[in-house]
């Protein structure tokens, strides 16, 4: 699960990470009040930031023609005008796809006088099964590009989960970021706070890009997390009620949300051949084999190891909600799952949904004979596939006809 920038900053602040002052608003009136408060507090400029779960907001374009989902404003009037122009509008960025995302929340905060932009992230290093803190002096840029072009500018510190991040490790990272003097201590504290946020929240990724050296009051330098992105480990959400409450269903694809309600794992893709499979690996492999025979998968759908008749019916409803779908491939390896139960589910689903699209079913495994018999005796037009290859070929051919 991903959360918004303003939520990420709330979490980070709980662990002592310095973030700009400000807050989230949902109406122009709230935007005005927030901006007024910030200007009254002595801030010279504020920044208005669209809150969507996608990167590239600054360079994004609203469908109403307004340029930029992030704007620095020097006056109260400007901040209110900007907020009005953004709220309720659809923002298209390089990560949203052409359909864009509706902006219903803005983060309004003090704009910092930035002197340097740095990069800081915590994630899992799968190679050693330990957390790793990644830092770079090349902040504000696409870190993947930095890693590809100048890997020597990325510093990594692996953390031993038995003891957590030790102060000396935070100082090492701070030093690698060029933080010296008074900034060393403050920077190290911030870095430890970022690690703690990752560890205590069970995050998959905490990314501060940019982490800024700013000019604070009296010309004194300080470190501030100017932007923040947090992705959570879904498996751990059960023990974080506060983070669960941060879920924003408006940011999720409605079909995927509907699927998760039925404990199905569905991801919509661009093609027109829907597939329904048991097991994640087999589901991926089914998409691959459709492509191999010249087709295009419309989705990834794993019905899990023990799907019920109700789940199969729900799965059919979900894949048929995608208007691009022109044919369906069901691929079930009934290891423990019984093919006759799946077959009964398929027949019920086809009848319930009044399916008219070509349907190819490949059943294998437990009670396969009985399963095939149920399909045959149903009187429905179901094309039977003998192997994965046979089924994939048949569904691609059915589409061509």
């Amino acid at each position: 699960m991903n959360i918004h920038e303003y939520q990420a900053k709330q979490l980070l602040a709980q662990y002592g990470v310095v973030v700009p002052s400000g807050g989230v608003v949902t109406t122009p009136a709230e935007a005005q009040a927030m901006a007024e408060k910030l200007f009254a507090g002595g801030v010279s400029r504020v920044v208005v930031k669209s809150q969507i779960h996608a990167g590239g907001r600054g360079k994004g374009v609203f469908k109403n023609g307004v340029q930029g989902g992030v704007k620095v404003c020097a006056s109260l009037e400007e901040a209110v005008t900007r907020a009005e122009a953004m709220l309720g509008q659809v923002l298209v960025t390089k990560q949203t796809g052409p359909e864009g995302r509706r902006v219903s929340k803005l983060l309004i905060e003090a704009a910092s006088a930035i002197k340097r932009e740095l990069y800081l992230a915590v994630l899992l290093d799968r190679g050693v099964s330990r957390p790793v803190v990644m830092a770079s002096t090349e902040g504000g840029m696409d870190i993947e590009e930095v890693a590809a072009k100048t890997p020597e500018r990325i510093f990594k510190e692996t953390i031993d989960p038995a003891v957590g991040m030790l102060p000396y490790q935070a100082r090492k990272v701070a030093t690698a970021l060029g933080l010296t003097g008074d900034l060393l201590g403050a920077g190290a504290k911030l870095i430890q706070g970022v690690f703690k946020t990752w560890w205590e929240s069970d995050a998959a990724l905490v990314e501060i890009n940019p982490l800024c050296v700013v000019e604070g009051p009296g010309g004194k330098e300080a470190t501030v997390a100017v932007d923040a992105k947090i992705g959570l480990d879904d498996n751990s959400l059960y023990r974080h009620k506060d983070i669960q409450a941060m879920r924003d269903l408006a940011e999720e694809a409605p079909l995927e949300t509907e699927a998760s309600r039925h404990e199905l794992n569905y991801i919509k893709l661009d093609g027109n051949i829907a597939c329904l499979v048991n097991g994640a690996g087999l589901a991926m492999a089914t998409m691959d084999i459709i492509k191999h025979y010249g087709g295009n998968p419309a989705n990834f759908l794993d019905v899990g190891g023990g799907a019920s008749k109700e789940q199969v019916t729900a799965a059919f409803r979900i894949i048929l909600s995608d208007p691009n779908v022109r044919a369906i491939l069901v691929n079930i390896f009934g290891g423990i799952m019984q093919c006759d139960i799946i077959a009964t589910g398929i027949v019920a689903a086809v009848k319930e949904t009044g399916l008219t699209l070509p349907l190819v079913v490949r059943l294998e495994g437990n009670n396969v004979g009985l399963g095939k018999q149920i399909l045959k005796e149903s009187g429905l037009t179901i094309i039977s596939g003998d192997s994965m290859a046979d089924a994939a070929e048949k569904v691609v051919r059915a589409l061509a006809n």
């Binding site: 899992l124 989960p161 069970d202 991801i267 048991n278 690996g281 492999a285 191999h292 190891g305 290859a389």
Partner: protein, 296 residues
């Protein structure tokens, strides 16, 4: 021979009274596996199916029955504890079937197991099967949730991150009259106990394994690591398949570990690494067995 388990291996089941644990303990017993104990805290002294003694702790179960392998079916929130309890009791092989364990719990488990003599398989895996000589491969050792009847005793080792895709490969072999030495599902999570490489080394050293099918998927770099080792050390023919060539980047494809992030973990990179190491890569998942048999 085989790797990890033999038909004589004495198995205990943690979470034997839960719905899934009970069902699969029963199926393992029917397969002929030596299920000698169950563990469910608070139910010590009872018997499973009037036959298998249930204990409150793994230590008690091991002391009373001499079990050397454990199958874990406890819910995700308690699985890390269950794994470490088994390790503490000296269980040599711990197979964790549980899906949905918090990643950080596994980070801690992996750290705690460092240097220990216990081998962990999984979590989020179908388990381990060494087929037996009976009808439908009965009389073998089945730890986990794989269907027993699809197996056949023989000389091909299968290692995979995915459950149903493992069954697919095993069934392709069995349908061609080719048996398996041992089939190992290592699980689809980003942090797991035993890697592809660990299992490949075991197969390479097992005189009864004559060829290997290795099934990987997008995410991580475990397949690349395995490929590098194969190139240097593997003396046996290996066929591979990587699932997820058509998966979009940044999306988790069911398994927590199956995600392409930062341009890493793509199927193309993995397939290239395997080819470079001399592994015969199956064009489609339909020809995994065929691809290996052409090499053998």
């Amino acid at each position: 021979m085989s790797i990890l388990v033999t038909p004589q291996t004495r198995v205990l089941v943690q979470g034997i009274t839960g719905a899934v644990g009970a069902r699969h303990a029963q199926l393992s017993l029917a397969y002929g596996t030596q299920v000698v104990a169950g563990v469910t805290p608070g139910k010590g002294g009872q018997r499973f199916e009037q036959k298998v003694p249930i204990f409150d702790t793994v230590a008690q179960a091991v002391a009373a029955t001499g079990a050397t392998a454990s199958a874990i079916f406890v819910p995700p929130a308690f699985a890390a504890d269950a794994i470490l309890e088994a390790a503490d009791a000296g269980v040599a092989l711990v197979v964790c079937i549980t899906e949905g364990i918090p990643v950080n719990d596994m980070v801690k488990v992996k750290r705690a197991l460092a240097g220990a003599s216990t081998r962990l398989i999984g979590p989020n895996c179908p388990g381990v099967v060494t087929p037996g000589e009976g009808k439908d491969s009965q009389g073998g050792c089945r730890i986990g949730i794989a269907p027993g009847y699809i197996h056949k005793k023989g000389h091909v080792g299968v290692v995979s991150r995915s459950g149903t895709l493992t069954y697919e490969a095993v069934w392709q072999l069995t349908c061609r009259g080719v048996g398996q030495s041992t089939c190992v599902g290592i699980g689809g999570d980003p942090v797991n106990g035993t890697s592809h490489l660990d299992v490949l080394k075991l197969f390479n050293d097992d005189p009864e394994t004559h060829g290997i099918i290795m099934i990987g998927e997008i995410g991580g770099a475990a397949e690349e690591e395995a490929a590098a080792w194969i190139k240097q050390h593997c003396r046996k023919p290996v066929a591979g398949f990587i699932a997820g060539a058509t998966a979009p980047p940044g999306r988790r494809m069911g398994h927590a570990g199956a995600i392409i992030s930062g341009g890493k973990g793509t199927a193309a990179a993995k397939i290239a690494a395997l080819r470079e190491a001399g592994v015969a890569v199956a064009e489609t998942p339909s020809v995994m067995a065929e691809t290996l048999l052409r090499r053998m």
